[in-house]
């Protein structure tokens, strides 16, 4: 099954027909291609989390259509038979540690796959593998998730979603509140999954460096609308626009800009530290030849 996810004129209103009605998404058109690594950025309250919940039909659009693979989700789609969609699209929510509930870590991680019919040895294996991926060894299996530190709980919760073996992995600010090392490990692990197993990733983040390092497509949300989308190169080229939107610019790009202010000339504006180093090396080599 092709797992492209497509939004066509999607709108979503919370509590419609009451004085509390709030239009959180308006006329959203976008496509998340199978095998892509899409980043969604935007300020707090811009509707990112609301948009994510459409990706596996947790909420249904109040206007427009969401196509998940070959399933069409509209306002009138019944709540039945959505399990398949939920299995294919796994969501790691903001602060997922709140979803832990079992006595042992093993049982909690097994909860998702068990609901989707995985059993026996296969279940055991998938639990171990998932815990391994988030950096927790077998000694954790029998421990209670509630005696862990916040960061470790986060890892267990993420393992719980990985264990469902989704083909699309949706991450809502997965590293918020983690220490720098944990953040790096997590982001690296997601990227490996993407590269090695071809998993589609949708990442919500405030860190432009993560966008520059990992994403191949960026969607910028503001007040419930898509105000820009495209390749990271395209979105980040207009640094002035990014600054006026107060979205921030990757560290390497800022660095390059400061160099440009002092007379450096870049062929392409670098987004990551690696690209920056290459560009600088190129320039230095050139000037070396001239001398």
């Amino acid at each position: 099954m092709v797992m492209d996810i497509q939004f066509e004129q999607v709108g979503y209103t919370y509590q419609p027909d009451t004085p509390f009605a709030f239009c959180a998404l308006k006329d959203i058109n976008l496509t998340i291609k199978e095998g892509s690594y899409t980043a969604i950025v935007g300020h707090t309250g811009s509707g990112k989390s609301t948009l994510l919940q459409h990706l596996n039909a947790l909420i249904k659009p109040t206007a427009g259509v969401v196509k998940i693979g070959d399933r069409l989700i509209t306002t009138d789609t019944p709540n039945k038979n959505l399990k398949e969609v939920r299995k294919e699209v796994g969501i790691v929510f903001q602060f997922p540690e709140a979803q832990l509930f079992e006595e042992t870590i093993e049982k909690d991680v097994a909860f998702g796959p068990k609901n989707f019919g995985v059993e026996g040895e296969e279940l055991k294996k998938v639990v171990r593998d998932s815990l391994q991926m988030v950096g927790l060894d077998d000694s954790y299996l029998e421990r209670s998730p509630f005696e862990l530190s916040g960061g470790q709980m986060r890892r267990v919760a993420i393992a719980g979603v990985l264990a469902m073996k989704p083909s699309v992995l949706v991450l809502d600010e997965p590293t918020a509140g983690l220490d720098p090392r944990g953040r790096k490990e997590m982001m690296g692990m997601f990227y490996d999954l993407h590269k090695e197993q071809g998993i589609t990733i949708v990442l919500v983040t405030h860190l432009m460096d993560d966008v520059a390092n990992f994403a191949d497509y960026v969607i910028v949300l503001e007040k419930g609308q898509v105000i820009k989308q495209g390749l990271p190169k395209q979105v980040f080229t207009d640094t002035q626009w990014l600054t006026t939107q107060q979205l921030g610019v990757p560290a390497a790009t800022t660095f390059a800009q400061q160099l440009m202010a002092r007379g450096f000339q870049f062929d392409t504006i670098p987004l990551t530290t690696k690209e920056l180093a290459q560009e600088i090396a190129k320039i230095l080599r050139k000037s070396g030849e001239q001398v």
Binding site: Q15, D17, T18, R86, Q99, L100, N115, V161
Partner: protein, 265 residues
């Protein structure tokens, strides 16, 4: 589902009703509910309905909204009314089947019970729609204060009430979040047989308990850190002030009572 629940929510506004002293509103609502039971003919119920409609229109809240608020309670009302009609006997018999019968008295009682229900719901909805929960609990604290003479912890009760009210929306949000997280892990809430339904509640309730306990602890720490040590000597940020419109309201209720006593048989 929870979105539709209007009963018990506050809608900000600046109508006369919004501006009334919460103590007056609270007492008046209780008083009104009390005198509803004095009604015993259609004239008295009409009077009460007219009064309620007047109060509702003064509050400037959209009528459709109040009607929507009544809907969730429809089945409860219907059930009570039907029971009343079927099991009260007296007067002319219209219909009989085994122990069930529809009689003149039963029908009348049914209609009256229905009116009482609607009146009580309307007036308490009006109270909560126009009064911020915190003002309500201030009012309750004030009204319970005389009981402190007999060592009744009025301040603590009111604090508990405010905290509880304050965290209702938080808890609702949290419930929705955790439900979504577990649905994403393949739980179908409200599907399958009773056993399945009970089982699907566990992954919801445990995280809710855990986070509630954590939050309670954090809140207690935060309060102590800011020097909270009970009600004694504590001043108020929102000071309740009796105004002429409050006196007027009290007068209106006196008049209402007089008319009511006059029209009932």
């Amino acid at each position: 589902m929870m979105d539709k629940m209007i009963f018990g929510r506050y809608i900000p506004g600046d109508s006369v009703i919004h501006k009334l002293d919460p103590r007056v509103k609270l007492l008046a609502s209780f008083y009104f509910i009390g005198i509803i039971f004095l009604c015993n003919n259609w004239q008295s119920y009409t009077l009460m309905f007219l009064f309620t409609l007047l109060a509702l229109s003064l509050s400037k809240i959209k009528p459709s909204f109040i009607i929507n608020g009544l809907k969730p309670l429809f089945w409860l009302i219907l059930f009570t009314v039907v029971l009343q009609i079927l099991f009260t006997r007296g007067g002319e018999v219209y219909f009989k089947w085994g122990i069930l019968s529809v009689t003149e008295l039963g029908l009348m009682n049914g209609i009256f019970i229905f009116c009482r229900f609607v009146l009580i719901i309307l007036i308490s909805t009006l109270l909560t729609l126009t009064t911020p929960p915190l003002s309500l609990s201030d009012a309750i604290e004030y009204l319970l204060r005389p009981l402190e003479v007999v060592k009744f912890p009025a301040h603590e009760v009111s604090l508990m009430l405010s905290i509880a009210l304050r965290f209702v929306p938080t808890l609702m949000d949290e419930t929705e979040k955790i439900m979504n997280a577990q649905r994403a892990r393949g739980v179908d809430f409200g599907e399958g047989n009773i056993m399945d339904k009970m089982k699907s509640i566990v992954p919801l309730l445990i995280p809710l308990f855990v986070s509630s306990f954590n939050r309670a602890e954090d809140l207690a720490t935060a309060m102590e850190a800011r020097g909270y040590k009970g009600g004694e000597g504590r001043t108020k940020y929102r000071v309740l002030k009796w105004q002429s419109r409050d006196t007027l309201t009290a007068l209106v209720f006196v008049v209402l009572t007089v008319i009511l006593v006059y029209v009932r048989n």
